[in-house]
């Protein structure tokens, strides 16, 4: 089966973000960028399914600036067979992204779409669910285990109360949670090979989709800092402070 893996270029998860002085957003100039960690897990899952012989072709796709080609090359170094960039420098939001992905799904006809449950920049957690709705596919969100069977997939989901397993008819959308797998690192030979794998570039106009943002960001602020606390020297002092100063126990 063919699997589509949408990925996103985001700020590296180790970078401490700074809000711009004019409150227009977060400063991304000269900041290290990387593949969203949940997307790495999605690529890894697709690659493992291919290694098991369940998947025959992995197509990575990203929607964003030209520089997102770097992340697509990474996905191909990890095992994706080819990739598609829907190139745009405009601000993009989940509904628009889901519409673009729907157009790709209609062209590629994958039996499964595996993507990260959320991106660590805007923390939206929407795109997979929206794509599922637009394409009429069932969804297995926040997956910690994926088992493909004939014509269906069983997905174990991390939910607030524990774990829930659902069975979905294929084609289906799966979004990844942290415990699904531990992504591998790309080897140097695979990084070299990835440079020769096909990478198609399209535009939103090619797909005929309207990606106009529906939400405007009025301002972005730094959250209130917590006041500096005190160090206590002993458990006795801690208990005393919690009882008499903070009055929380």
């Amino acid at each position: 089966m063919k699997v589509l893996v949408p990925i996103k270029r985001v700020i590296d998860y180790n970078v401490k973000v700074r809000v711009k002085a004019d409150n227009s957003g977060v400063d991304l100039a000269n900041v290290k960028m990387a593949m969203n960690p949940f997307c790495e897990i999605a690529v890894e899952e697709a690659v493992r399914l291919k290694e098991k012989g369940v998947v025959t072709e992995i197509v990575a796709v990203s929607i964003g600036p030209k520089a997102a080609q770097e992340q697509l090359r990474t996905a191909m170094a990890l095992g994706a067979d080819r990739s598609i960039l829907v190139e745009t420098d405009e601000e993009i939001q989940p509904l628009g992204i889901a519409k673009a992905l729907k157009a790709i799904v209609e062209e590629e006809k994958p039996e499964m779409v595996i993507l990260g449950k959320q991106a660590i920049d805007d923390d939206n957690n929407q795109t997979g669910q929206m794509l599922a709705a637009l394409t009429g596919m069932p969804q297995g969100t926040f997956a910690s285990e994926v088992n493909v069977e004939e014509g269906k997939v069983k997905v174990t989901r991390e939910i607030d109360g524990g774990l829930q397993t659902v069975e979905l008819k294929l084609p289906a959308v799966v979004t990844t949670d942290l415990r699904l797998n531990e992504p591998r690192y790309a080897s140097l030979p695979n990084i070299m090979k990835a440079k020769k794998k096909p990478l198609d570039v399209k535009t939103p106009a090619d797909l005929g989709v309207d990606m106009t943002p529906r939400v405007t960001i009025e301002k972005v602020e730094t959250p209130a800092e917590r006041k500096a606390g005190v160090m206590v020297g002993s458990v006795d002092e801690l208990v005393e402070k919690l009882k008499n100063e903070a009055k929380v126990i």
């Binding site: 939001q93 920049d121 669910q129 109360g161 949670d177 415990r179 458990v235 929380v248």
Partner: protein, 309 residues
């Protein structure tokens, strides 16, 4: 102007987080209707009818809604939501699962995990793991929103007397089915609504060592949480994870034990009123957000704490 609030429940009782979503609905303003979808969920509808500020409860009681499958719930909410300007759900794994699906069916944006209502079109929400707060304005006619429960003080659970109307709308996509569930069973309070939370990290060493935290938790009536590192290492199950992609908590007292304080963990607990950190590494970033820090070996400090409570 009217607001539809989706009730979070387990078919038996209304989850307290719904009271917080109702508080957000109240700030938006207008008539509030609560939708209860489930199986055998009549008691939940009765409970919702008593909540402060609710004008009407719609109860969709059907097999198709028993396990909150997103495919069925989204179709139901999109249809019922046609009459409402705002559709609100809790930013729980249930709400996050179906709400974007509703928004896409209605061809509108979804606004995730709001922490503040500015007005009916404008909301504040944390981004970048809470390291920035965005004020966002939505131009769509209809707004589909998930609400961060810990950011809103819940409305009163009692005092209201809304009418309950049964809804005979059955949406069964046939695309997905429930297989099974492994739910954590605990006599301790639920993490997201507990007054006191005590969490362990990688420093706990293994799952058995969490026993020392459970002892303290039971003395304080606290819930027990964990950092991602502790969950990834298999010490404790995923439902205990506090952080950017786990649970968001804001108790009166949060005790971080053997947790270094990665930004992803801080995102889940830094709105707690009082934070205590116990860690043997005095350089641990957790101390920068702690009101009270104790540099100590947790295996000595926690049993001592237990003996002194």
């Amino acid at each position: 102007m009217s607001v539809l609030v989706y009730a979070e429940h387990d078919n038996a009782t209304l989850n307290k987080v719904t009271l917080s979503v109702l508080a957000a609905a109240k700030e938006i303003g207008g008539d509030i209707t609560v939708l209860v979808a489930g199986k055998g969920c009549g008691a939940v509808a009765e409970e919702a009818a008593k909540a402060e500020g609710v004008s009407k409860v719609l109860c969709a009681d059907n097999d198709a809604y028993e396990h909150q499958l997103a495919e069925n719930i989204a179709e139901l909410v999109a249809e019922v939501g046609a009459d409402y300007k705002h559709i609100l759900a809790a930013a729980t794994t249930t709400g996050k699962n179906f709400a974007p699906r509703v928004a896409a069916l209605l061809d509108v944006a979804q606004i995730s995990e709001i922490s503040d209502v500015v007005d009916g079109d404008t909301f504040r929400r944390p981004i970048y793991a809470g390291n920035a707060i965005a004020t966002v304005k939505c131009a769509d006619e209809k707004k589909v929103i998930t609400v961060r429960g810990t950011s809103f003080d819940g409305v009163a659970a009692e005092g209201g007397s809304a009418s309950v109307e049964n809804l005979d709308v059955v949406k069964d996509s046939g695309l997905s089915s429930f297989v099974n569930e492994e739910l954590a069973k605990s006599d301790r309070p639920e993490l997201t609504s507990a007054e006191i939370v005590i969490s362990g990290g990688r420093g706990m060493g293994n799952g058995d060592n969490f026993e020392i935290l459970y002892k303290v938790a039971d003395k304080l009536g606290a819930a027990v949480g964990a950092s991602r590192a502790a969950v990834d290492a298999g010490f404790v199950p995923n439902d205990m994870q506090v952080g950017q992609t786990g649970k968001i908590v804001a108790p009166n007292l949060y005790m971080a034990v053997g947790i270094s304080g990665a930004i992803q963990h801080l995102a889940g607990m830094k709105d707690s009123k009082v934070i205590v950190a116990i860690n043997k590494d005095e350089e641990a970033p957790i101390f920068q957000v702690a009101d009270y820090g104790l540099v100590a070996d947790l295996f000595e400090a926690v049993p001592e704490l237990d003996s002194k409570l």
